[in-house]
């Protein structure tokens, strides 16, 4: 992205009022994006008394990490974290395998039946059975209250397939592939030794799409994980804990009475977003690239 210089050449010396206003407006809008999170962080580190008195804004008052020690003592939250990690890892691996296996053949011009197959895959973007038929299927497969219900159904994503197919079509030079074929390389070989190494950025991008998407989703878990409370991923646990507030924090056996759940809630929000916040600055550029690719259709 190149910065385009479009300032009036002659007016360099004069103070650019509109330029200042534009910059100020952007700073304000950016702060609006940041401050709510900052408030939650401040609350999570504050002492109960200040939070109850509604005194905490953007900085913690009376520093305390009590809420965090309680979270790490809460077996059910840690179990949810564990479930989320397992599901996210397995889902990302499977999703990538499925996407690569579909995108490579569909990006080859010599594939007979390519347009029909592409239609079968991409039609799912525009019409689906919907919530209930999918729920019935999961039920009939005996996958309700299992982790498979969170891993298998969404592992195929037509949107990600489209991105990877477009990249495979354009990023690998035909001549390179042809010379490999002349040397006797089969499709497996070409995919493994030429196409995949040349497509590393898009592999990183789509892995992140899968991982962050899975980490953040809770709709399917809400539908499919009903009775086996132990299998709730973190986001669903948070839903019951904070949004619905139908469940209380399970603290250590010593029955600590919680004077104010607000601090705990704030701490749990920070706890659950920490993985995302930590990787976010480093992976942001992959997301931006992926989003731009998604907008470019073949």
């Amino acid at each position: 992205m190149k910065a385009v210089s479009n300032a009036p050449v002659g007016s360099k010396k004069r103070f650019d009022v509109w330029g200042f206003i534009i910059h100020a407006a952007l700073v304000v809008v950016s702060l609006v994006c940041l401050l709510p999170y900052l408030h939650i962080v401040a609350k999570s580190f504050s002492e109960d008394a200040y939070v109850i008195a509604n005194k905490v804004y953007l900085l913690p008052k009376g520093f305390s990490i009590e809420a965090y020690t309680k979270i790490f003592a809460d077996a059910s939250i840690l179990r949810s974290l564990y479930v989320s990690v397992i599901v996210t890892v397995l889902f990302t691996i499977l999703g990538m395998i499925v996407t690569i296996c579909a995108a490579y053949p569909l990006s080859r011009r010599q594939l007979k039946g390519r347009s029909t197959l592409t239609f079968i895959f991409l039609f799912t973007m525009y019409f689906s059975g919907g919530i209930i038929p999918e729920y019935m299927l999961i039920n009939n497969l005996g996958m309700l209250d299992t982790l498979w219900s969170l891993i298998l159904p969404l592992s195929f994503s037509a949107f990600n397939l489209l991105i990877m197919k477009t990249t495979f079509t354009h990023s690998v030079p035909v001549s390179l592939e042809e010379s490999a074929r002349i040397d006797g390389a089969g499709h497996f070989r070409i995919l493994w030794s030429i196409v995949l190494p040349l497509s590393k950025p898009i592999l990183a991008t789509l892995s992140l799409f899968y991982a962050v998407g899975r980490w953040n989703a809770y709709q399917d878990a809400l539908f499919y994980i009903k009775h086996n409370v132990d299998l709730r991923p973190l986001q669903l646990k948070l839903y019951y804990l904070i949004v619905q507030a139908s469940e209380s924090f399970q603290l250590e056996a010593t029955q600590v009475t919680l004077s104010n759940p607000e601090v705990m809630k704030a701490a749990v929000v920070v706890f659950a977003t920490l993985p995302i916040i930590c990787i976010y600055p480093f992976v942001q550029k992959y997301f931006v690239q992926g989003t731009m690719l998604g907008a470019v259709k073949e």
């Binding site: 910065a3 385009v4 479009n6 300032a7 050449v9 509109w18 534009i22 910059h23 407006a25 952007l26 809008v29 994006c33 940041l34 999170y37 408030h39 939650i40 509604n54 005194k55 395998i97 499925v98 579909a102 053949p105 594939l111 007979k112 039946g113 079968i120 895959f121 799912t124 525009y126 019409f127 689906s128 059975g129 919907g130 919530i131 209930i132 038929p133 999918e134 729920y135 019935m136 299927l137 298998l152 195929f156 499709h187 497996f188 953040n216 809770y218 709709q219 986001q235 948070l238 839903y239 904070i242 607000e262 704030a266 977003t273 600055p281 942001q284 931006v288 989003t291 731009m292 907008a295």
Partner: protein, 320 residues
């Protein structure tokens, strides 16, 4: 003699062609490609196409005891009952209302924001702002819902605390119907505005800098250049994205609404996906919920196809 041999050889080549280019030939030549397609195909057929068969439940009176096959066919009866429900009309109205309002605001704000970001020449300033603006996109709806209540809650939300400190009255941002609607829209804008700029900024970065230079020489002001160079350059992008969003006005995120709704505000929160969940998964009325889902999916498909036609008519790339 000659003629016969030609005919024969023609016949032979035809035969040869037939056998060389039959499906088996391709299957043998590219068997590795078909092997690769097996796993995705199985997953798609099982998890995306099998549920389509489940849609017949909308035309049956589903009883758990009788099962999928044993339940009675009732034709359009489920739909007649569905259309007569007051909840149905309300859900359709809310789905359209929320999505159209979203289209008016969440769709336009990123365009303005991208125009502002495009005016920034300092790369570091731009990067830092973009990083902050993209942040909400990476938070899950549960987290956003939790944060919304911590900030906008009437009794102890930060914004209400601030209002109280300033001597103003506390506002039930999320506990009153109209306020809830406004909060819902603002939270949607907050979550998506930064991320929405990416595609516009990409389109803007491909504008030829000479156009701006020429305009500057001609004495064009900042706004003039924005109006006459930048906006026309991203118009195709705006039109394409707008048409794509039009195709989605019957859709909408279940997670977004579900993590923001509460018992105090029922007027605008019952959308189609929420009602499907309530009827089908919570209430066990499988047939009616399936019918409602099918109704939504069909209208959604028609809208997408219409959007595609409009896009192609206007000379833009279609969706399909």
């Amino acid at each position: 003699m000659k003629g016969i041999s030609i005919a024969k050889s023609k016949n032979e080549t035809a035969l040869l062609k037939e056998s060389r280019y039959g499906p088996l030939y391709y299957l043998r030549r590219d068997w590795q490609l078909y092997v690769l397609l097996l796993l995705p195909l199985v997953l798609v057929l099982l998890f995306k196409y099998t549920p389509l068969a489940g849609l017949v439940l909308a035309f049956k009176d589903y009883k758990i005891a009788k099962g999928f096959w044993g339940s009675e066919w009732v034709g359009m009866e489920v739909f007649q009952e569905l259309f007569a429900k007051p909840d149905f009309a309300r859900a359709v109205r809310n789905t359209l209302l929320l999505n159209i309002l979203d289209l008016l605001f969440s769709f336009t704000v990123p365009i303005f924001l991208a125009l502002l970001l495009h005016e920034v020449k300092n790369i570091l300033f731009k990067r830092v702002n973009q990083t902050l603006l993209y942040l909400p996109h990476f938070l899950s709806w549960v987290i956003i819902g939790a944060m919304a209540y911590q900030l906008l809650g009437e009794g102890n939300g930060m914004i209400n605390n601030l209002l109280a400190t300033l001597g103003a009255d506390r506002v039930p941002f999320l506990q009153q119907d109209t306020n809830w609607l406004i909060s819902y829209l603002l939270i949607g804008i907050w979550q998506s505005m930064g991320w929405g700029t990416i595609i516009y900024l990409a389109a803007m970065s491909s504008i030829n800098p000479e156009m701006y230079e020429a305009a500057t020489v001609d004495g064009a002001s900042r706004w003039r250049k924005m109006w006459n160079i930048t906006l026309p350059s991203i118009r195709p992008t705006i039109v394409t994205l707008l048409i794509m969003s039009l195709g989605g006005v019957m859709g909408g995120s279940f997670e977004r609404i579900f993590s923001l709704l509460n018992r105090a505000t029922t007027e605008f929160t019952t959308t189609i996906p929420v009602l499907v969940y309530r009827w089908g998964i919570e209430g066990g009325d499988i047939s009616r919920a399936t019918a409602l889902g099918l109704f939504q999916a069909l209208i959604g498909l028609v809208l997408v196809l219409a959007a595609d036609r409009i896009a192609k008519k206007m000379g833009e790339d279609g969706l399909l």
